[in-house]
């Protein structure tokens, strides 16, 4: 599939970034027909553990972990090159949930010895922790209220935990005196119950109930927990935006290719102006999204403070969620009837856009947050 993005024409990659991108491109090229996606759909745990190990071997799980903590110590711009390809290939693995959200929570854990124990296991692909932070639908609030920790025991329910069926442990935020603490909880700890919701993309969200569940080690003390979560969540919002960029880019590439092949009225339908203009509008959406992803990656790789990161995370998530959904649904229209079948792969991109667009805050939720964070002066 031909790359129609403007990256090759106007952006500059370092030599190392070219290597990173090439290896990610080669990785997804092995499954052009998306057989892996279909094989893992609607079957627990919703992702492929074998693929996960291969991704670990590629080194990508450690990109955002500092070198002295056993990681690769690269930046968000570097990681986005991988994420875009994972999005293009719809690779069925919980990459952002584990290698960004959980990993970036763990890199901020209080205890160096604990970090040294856990991070290498995560990076090696042997151990998958799932972060359970959310307590209400459409919530962006990292402060724990529903799940409470008293005397070392957890009570309460977390929701929308992605791909928890394959997790080896949970990182759980809990309200206690002094704020929101983060604890490690073993998968088979007593009093843990998982209820699954099937996602439209074939994966699963879990609702996790804790009933008098004993906590494992404390990762982050209650004074810092909410801030640690907020930072990791904003990084994950950037990362999922980069993945969405890959999803929308490939959906557009497939659609443009179809416009060139499909003949009606004795001509390729891509010669019709109405369809050309629609396709151009989608192209502009994808390139504006790419521009914001590039800008945000640079900001996250720099020394911006937490508030500026939060503003940027909401800006990029709002754009990429909206653009991916728009491109996904218009791609169905451009395909006509075949686009509405499960057999055609284009629908898989729309469904991925639906899931990732909503996860960690929808476009409208992030526009509202952006307004809250920036409009003080305007009003």
């Amino acid at each position: 599939m031909e790359d129609i993005s403007l990256q090759a024409k106007i952006d500059v990659l370092s030599e190392e970034q070219v290597l990173i991108q090439d290896s990610a491109v080669a990785f997804i090229a092995r499954d052009p027909e998306l057989k892996q996606v279909r094989a893992n759909r609607f079957v627990q745990p919703g992702f492929d553990r074998g693929l996960w190990r291969e991704i670990a071997d590629a080194g990508w799980l450690g990109f955002l972990v500092p070198e002295d903590e056993g990681g690769v110590g690269l930046g968000f711009a570097d990681l986005s090159l991988v994420l875009i390809q994972l999005g293009k290939g719809l690779v069925p693995v919980p990459f952002v949930a584990t290698a960004v959200l959980a990993a970036r929570t763990l890199t901020r854990a209080d205890d160096a010895a604990l970090r040294a124990e856990l991070l290498p296991r995560l990076i090696g692909g042997d151990w998958l922790p799932a972060l359970a932070w959310q307590e209400a639908r459409a919530s962006l609030d990292p402060t724990a209220r529903e799940v409470v920790c008293t005397n070392g025991r957890l009570h309460g329910t977390k929701c929308f935990v992605p791909d928890a069926g394959g997790a080896d442990a949970f990182i759980v935020s809990a309200a206690e005196a002094g704020g929101t603490a983060l604890y490690l909880v073993e998968r088979d700890a007593p009093g843990v119950t998982l209820a699954f919701e099937q996602r439209v993309d074939g994966g699963f969200f879990a609702e996790i109930r804790f009933a008098d569940t004993p906590v494992g080690k404390q990762l982050v003390a209650p004074e810092r927990g909410a801030a640690v979560l907020a930072a990791a969540l904003d990084e994950a919002r950037f990362a999922v935006s980069a993945e969405l960029l890959g999803v929308m880019t490939r959906a557009l590439e497939i659609s443009v290719d179809y416009l060139k092949q499909r003949v009606q009225f004795d001509k390729p339908i891509g010669s019709f102006q109405a369809l050309q203009h629609k396709a151009v509008d989608l192209f502009i959406q994808s390139e504006v999204s790419r521009s914001v992803v590039l800008q945000t990656a640079a900001l996250f790789d720099g020394d911006a403070d937490a508030e500026r990161r939060a503003v940027a995370a909401s800006q990029v998530k709002a754009r990429c969620s909206d653009a991916a959904l728009k491109i996904g649904k218009d791609a169905i229209q451009l395909h006509g009837g075949i686009g509405y079948t499960d057999e055609a792969n284009i629908g898989l991109y729309l469904k991925k856009a639906m899931v990732l667009g909503a996860w960690l805050g929808s476009a409208s939720a992030h526009r509202a947050r952006y307004a809250e964070l920036t409009l003080g002066g305007a009003q």
Binding site: I10, I284, E287, S291
Partner: protein
Amino acid sequence: MNQSIDYNALDDDAFRRLVHDWMVANYPEELRFPPERMHWEQCGRWYLKLAEKGWLAPGWPREYGGMGLDANKLLIFMDVCESHGVGRTPDQGMTMVGPLLIQHGSAEQKAYYLPRILAGEHIWCQGYSEPGAGSDLASLRTSAVRDGDHYVVNGHKIWTTLAMDANMIFMLVRTQNTGKKQEGITFLLVPLDTPGITVRPIINLGMHDEFAEVFFDDVRVPVANVVGGENNGWTIAKALLGHERIFIGSPKFATLAMYRLQSLARAVGLFDDPLFVSRYTALKLDVEDLGAAYRRFVAVLKRGGHIGAEVSMLKIWNTETQQRITELMLEAAGESAGIWGGVATADGPVRPAGEFIGSRPTTIYGGSNEVQRNILAKAALGLPG
């Protein structure tokens, strides 16, 4: 004409303060947020003040007397100007001819014309469109016939912005009638006081004489005034269109419209209305995200790279965003949407009707947005003709 100050070396906040303080101290209060394009009689003194400060051409390289700003500093400069309501001068010398001559002009042309632009001695206008050549520009018919070391020009240009204030026109003329229509076009620089030229203003929907028609009747122009060689005008024009499209693709106008909407919304208390705030924020992000895309393209130019037809995406996004902003201004203004006078605000009167009407031509000029989409369909997506 070399500027000694390296503004890019300043940190962003210091640069913003520097520009802001100088604008506040020097920009005439009565010209803040002008409701329409200013004529020379209104803004000439301001133009010369900018010239004297060395801030007329923020994007030109320093060696030619510009400020040499990088993309980021350029956006800050723009934002400060728009937030203070600094009106647009007759700027086609800075935004179009200057960059074109820097790229394609001969050494003599650069040495002669560039300092005169910066000194405010030459005010330029653009002679491209004709009554029969709008979106299909290459079908232009204004002719230039060689007569010794002169051309004799005859024809009719239209939509010439602020021609009545200009003393120079850069124009496309037909020097050959055989072969492809793009191949017989030449790019010519013409003093407007040359005998045989008549300028006639056109009143637009805003009741303002912003445009003009320009008639050429046996106008004699020296051959030395050709840029880029005879019959190479289409190539030159396309290069200039690139400059024009990056200029009209910059967030400048959408940013200004956003500041006007903000003043209006404060004045009528709309920031307490969650529905309005939601729509305001969506537009604000459309402008901010355009800024990200604009920086990406400008960075290519600063690296000395080439920008292709893809830059049209900026023009489409910018102009359609600007129009949506002015449409929200109409809604925010209630009945005042239908009057010329508008609404009093803390930042002076905001005129939604004028803003709305004034944004209509943006999707038409510089190649209509529909033509831009045709171009992108082929150039960016490779769709069949």
